[in-house]
Symmetry: C2
Subunit: 385 residues, 2 copies
């Protein structure tokens, strides 16, 4: 960006489109840096709108709302991937510093574009093909076998928009929805890993340690940092791959690369270009949190040290249970473990919804993991494990 | 407090009277805990008012403004000590949970009350006496020698309201101001230490490690955690003394005890009952920051672990220099030291004003201290040290 340095008491203004928990946690980093965070929210009840002074109400699908929002921002960035790519191009054409830019972000918005590009740069992908008809899917299956993974080209997240089809019958139901689809070969993976990197407009890049993400029903429930037992050469290769993708795609800001670890190496699963659930552990667990890192990157400031602050860090998501009153359970969790770090997102509790997370830090993986699990299970369900 | 647990998405509401940097940094902790922080500000430009969604404008000296502010708060607490004691009593009589309460807070508001009480509980104090006339001061000096330290009984902070008088002539000028005064014997101290403790309404108490505070012109410029070379038994005694004071005075929330270390032990200098400059290092340097700890204490939640996250932590204050454009210097500081943590308060830069702080963490005191100093000097004055 040209100049993030207005005179006087006011820091640079970063406008974040979307007001979910990622924007909410970005506010904690913005407060320290003296960055004025502005959020575009659908309502004042949204997670970040509850904790930010400069809330603008509007629709992220409306170019007019986006243009109003952008006025006076030194940089624009995103809490989610749902802003239409053409609107991002229009904002950049207006002169806004948008990070990541449309040409990068489209790879996190459109899985077909992502697969094409990753294949072109030699990043390991599963076999894949655009499919429109039952014959397309059956042809793909004839080549690569069942199950076939069908993915919505746009709009999926947290397991939504992904269907593992074991037969032509399974696929028929998905095809009937009419959404543009991609077929991917099912990857027999050993575990899921994620690499979070940041890249600034100057081209500086940093990588956090590779983490293991534990999923349940397509939703991340636990992150183990660093990925236990990962061969150091493999870890370095995964970091190198993520940094290469960031560079080749021209990412500015954060890039999370979700990977499958297989017997032979890695396969890239998904990309996200924003703070990511797999990086929440960095708030306490790294010298520079992913939220601070993202702000530094989008303001083209030198990036912060991504080193860990403890040998082992475990983050567990809090998924809404049946009882909305999570605060009544603080007393037990905090008394049981004075070192546990609790993060609530100020969101209405609904079953299965991500309403917060907890982080435990220490030296022994099993002990740290048990602490994180205990707190997460008790906070969400009131069950003592 | 009776119940900090409203149902649904909203966490407990904590009302903080005052909107300076302490309230600003409390917001970072409130965001994580899902606590809704409300601040009473004099204007929307104040440090915390720039980063909080629920800002109420009003005067902390007006009982009517305070009563309006208190409505709907689960707990009330303070960013400063300037709320009249009688107003705090009135709020408590209305049914508000005020932490610390008036009977405790008065010891941080009125130095004569503080000295009487500390003397009564056997806490080490310098010789002291209330003084009104030149004859009073000369009588005190005849007993304890010059210099005599005159202190305003109420309203002093950051070296204001403290006069070191080397003669009756010096004292005459101070007496002429007409403010109620206390005389204290000058303590030939070796260094200044501070102990930060927290106490909850339940009576749980925790102590952070003893730190050394380095002052210049009565303003804290640097904090070294833990206090270098402090004898472990002395450190434990200082922590015990601070916890005893918290208990005896009925403090709820944080208590900072500023001490002089002398050849023979400690002498208590000042008390503060709120997050304190000597505890800013805890944001990154302790498992539980002082801001989170204060929120937990005033909500009567179990207190968090006060353990350090690194062997050595140094905090250096950023005092305003001549150039208001501090942001233009981020680039050098962040590139020079990717691990330095910068905190800006969003305050207009004025010479000598506390506008932020930096924190460095590591293992070697001299190296960590040099890093903190380099960043602080460069950010405030643009000078490369």
């Amino acid at each position: 960006m040209s100049s993030p340095s207005p005179a006087g008491s006011s820091g640079p203004v970063v406008g974040m489109i979307g007001a979910g928990q990622l924007a909410r946690m970005t506010q904690q980093a913005a407060i320290a840096l003296g960055v004025e965070l502005r959020v575009l929210a659908g309502s004042r009840d949204e997670s970040a709108a509850r904790v930010v002074a400069d809330v603008r109400l509007g629709d992220h699908r409306s170019l007019s709302d986006l243009r109003d929002f952008a006025k006076g921002c030194d940089a624009l960035t995103f809490d989610h991937e749902h802003v239409p790519t053409e609107h991002i191009r229009a904002l950049a054409a207006d002169g806004s510093a948008v990070h990541p830019g449309a040409e990068a972000l489209v790879h996190a918005q459109d899985k077909a574009v992502m697969r094409e590009r990753l294949t072109a740069i030699g990043a390991p992908c599963p076999a894949w093909r655009r499919v429109e008809t039952a014959a397309d899917v059956e042809g793909f299956a004839a080549e690569h076998g069942w199950p076939v993974v069908l993915k919505a080209v746009r709009g999926g997240y947290d397991g939504r928009g992904v269907w593992i089809c074991r037969s032509a019958g399974d696929a028929a139901g998905v095809l009937a929805s009419g959404v543009p689809l991609l077929a991917e070969a099912f990857v027999p993976f050993e575990r899921e890993l994620a690499v979070l990197v940041a890249r600034s407009p100057h081209g500086q890049g940093v990588s956090y340690p590779v983490v293991e993400t534990v999923q349940r029903d397509g939703i991340c429930v636990e992150v183990l940092a660093p990925a236990p037992g990962l061969d150091p050469e493999r870890a370095a290769a995964a970091q190198g791959l993520a940094l290469k993708i960031a560079t080749e795609l021209g990412v500015t800001g954060l890039l999370a690369v979700e990977m499958f670890e297989t017997s032979g190496g890695f396969v890239v699963n998904e990309l996200a270009m924003r703070p990511h659930n797999s990086g929440h552990w960095t708030i306490e667990g790294a010298r520079t949190s992913q939220f601070e890192q993202h702000l530094r990157a989008v303001l083209d400031l030198p990036l912060g040290a991504p080193v860990m602050t403890a040998p082992v860090v475990v983050m567990a998501n809090l998924l809404g249970g049946e009882d909305p009153d999570v605060f009544s359970r603080y007393e037990h969790v905090m008394a049981h473990d004075p070192g546990i770090k609790v993060h609530f997102y100020g969101k209405e509790v609904r079953p299965g919804r991500k309403i917060g997370h907890v982080t435990a830090l220490g030296t022994d993986l099993e002990e740290v993991r048990a602490r994180a699990r205990h707190a997460a299970v008790y906070l969400t369900d009131g069950v003592y494990t």
